[in-house]
């Protein structure tokens, strides 16, 4: 392994940029992601920076059952994120549709039909610590040796 790759591995595990997109959730998961920002959980002390610009992001948090408006737009958003990238489904909605997956629904779950999902955090809504745990355990292993693997 080259020395450059080693430096990149180390840096990538300490600086993860996260963006989130709400594709039709009930707001419960949104505010649990927001709660991660609170000084109690303090997402930034692990080197995770939350902002809403997909062009700078490494990790995309997807919340909510997919509504028809988002079926094509989510793919566009995913394409804007530079490589290496990963998507995490937060909550039951992107996994199965949760309570909304019934007869007469408008939504079209699961989210895996539209973008590749690397990890899923079940719960309605999951606790902030679980979301934090998912990002922290997924991102360093997924981004490790990215350039070496590309070769």
């Amino acid at each position: 392994m080259s020395i450059l790759q080693e430096i990149k591995n180390r840096v990538r595990s300490k600086s993860i940029h996260v963006t989130f997109v709400d594709v039709g959730s009930c707001n419960g998961c949104d505010i649990e992601v927001l709660a991660c920002l609170a000084p109690r959980y303090d997402i930034e002390q692990y080197g995770i920076y939350v902002h809403n610009n997909p062009r700078e992001a490494d990790v995309l948090l997807v919340m909510g059952a997919i509504t028809p408006q988002w079926t094509d737009k989510l793919r566009d958003l995913w394409d804007k994120i530079p490589e290496p990238k990963a998507a995490i489904a937060v909550g039951n909605c992107p996994i199965s549709g949760c309570v909304f997956a019934r007869r007469h629904m408008y939504i079209e779950p699961p989210v895996e039909k539209y973008i590749p999902i690397a990890a899923q955090v079940p719960g309605c809504p999951p606790r902030p610590t679980e979301i934090l745990n998912a990002i922290l355990s997924l991102a360093p292993t997924l981004f490790k040796d990215y350039e070496e693997k590309q070769r």
């Binding site: 997109v21 959730s25 707001n27 949104d30 809403n52 997909p54 408006q69 737009k73 408008y106």
Partner: protein
């Protein structure tokens, strides 16, 4: 013909300032906003269509997931509407416990609304302070109901769990810390000169405009309409001697301050509830029957109305929900952001009305 509109600027649907997808189209002349239009439809899940024909046991959990921020009030209004249809009476202890949980949820909701506002005007320190206080409130909500967000605490004829002596004592102790911290933060907000420049006199909604636009909740109360508070018509709140807070300025500052004042008011209401908490059972039971009703309650964002028709087995034949945010979003787009002097104030004005897109579109 004189040209009045230079360019139409879209804000959203994915925007750093709001957490939910919504698009505002601003028609601007220079930096001044002439007209704004809100485009909805990114979050429509069709909850009311799913609810139809289902038993109340299922609709209860669906109603809670209309909105994740104010889930307790959706639960409360649906359950109280079903009780009013079927003639179920609630034990007095359960009625007081409902008010305690509802007010805790209101504090959490108001804190996250003011967090969003402070975050939008880039006062991140105050925003993080408020978010940290909210965690203490959610801890108490979890201790009483067992869950942080979707609590499902109320059922026809009472509540699920009793409040033990230790939990009540812990709640009172936490409320004391919340109140002490909040006094400091409210002073920070009131006296901050830069906050004043970004908030005072911006996005004014006059009393006439608020009545015309049918504004509800803290938005209307900041414009001098205290009567719009539905808690005035709730029997338990009336016993507690509830009196709504209101302001007359109608700008962004007033809307945020009304929410801060309501946090203190909610703390007072919870203390009064614990003082008066009578002994007795918390679950009475009862069967849900047929009937039709329009039931209103005061959500953190304003008046929430459920129109329900059920059959003799307690199945929901027809339901329609009117959530508060839709009125405030329209008031915002037609009155508040019109003639705002800078495009930078559009986002903060919109956030100050505390829009909840999830419950607007359901």
């Amino acid at each position: 013909m004189k040209k009045t509109v230079d360019v139409s600027i879209p804000i959203g649907p994915v925007h750093p300032c709001w957490k939910e997808p919504i698009r505002i189209k601003c028609e601007t002349a220079g930096e001044r906003v002439r007209r704004a239009e809100v485009e909805l439809g990114y979050m429509k899940k069709g909850i009311e269509r799913i609810m139809r024909g289902r038993p109340w046991q299922e609709v209860m959990f669906l109603a809670e997931r209309v909105c994740g921020i104010c889930s307790v009030i959706h639960n409360m209004v649906f359950i109280e509407a079903m009780e009013a249809i079927s003639g179920i009476t609630v034990p007095p202890r359960a009625a007081y416990l409902r008010v305690i949980v509802n007010e805790l949820d209101r504090i959490a909701s108001h804190l996250i609304a003011n967090f969003s506002y402070c975050y939008t005007i880039e006062h991140e320190t105050l925003a993080m302070y408020l978010l940290n206080v909210r965690e203490v409130v959610l801890d108490n909500l979890e201790r009483i109901t067992g869950s942080r967000i979707n609590t499902a605490y109320m059922i026809p004829g009472g509540v699920r769990f009793d409040l033990s002596e230790e939990d009540a004592a812990a709640l009172l102790a936490d409320l004391a810390t919340v109140e002490a911290e909040m006094r400091r933060y409210v002073k920070m907000f009131e006296t901050g000169p830069l906050i004043g420049l970004r908030s005072r006199g911006i996005g004014i909604l006059t009393q006439e405009a608020a009545i015309e636009a049918h504004a509800v909740g803290p938005t209307a109360r900041a414009s001098g309409i205290p009567e719009c508070d539905q808690r005035l018509r709730h029997p338990t709140y009336r016993e507690l001697g509830f009196a709504p807070v209101s302001r007359t300025e109608g700008d962004n500052f007033a809307r945020v301050m009304v929410r801060f004042d309501e946090v203190f008011q909610s703390i007072g209401l919870i203390r009064a509830c614990i003082d008066r908490l009578p002994d007795g059972p918390v679950r009475g039971g009862g069967d849900c029957g047929p009937g039709e009703i329009v039931y209103r309650g005061e959500a953190p964002r304003g008046e929430l109305a459920y129109c329900i028709r059920s059959d003799e087995y307690g199945r929901i034949l027809d339901i329609s929900i009117r959530t508060p945010s839709i009125m405030n979003i329209e008031a915002c787009s037609h009155y508040m952001v019109r003639d705002v002097t800078s495009l930078a104030d559009v986002t903060s004005t919109f956030i100050s009305a505390d829009p909840c897109i999830a419950c607007t579109e359901r």
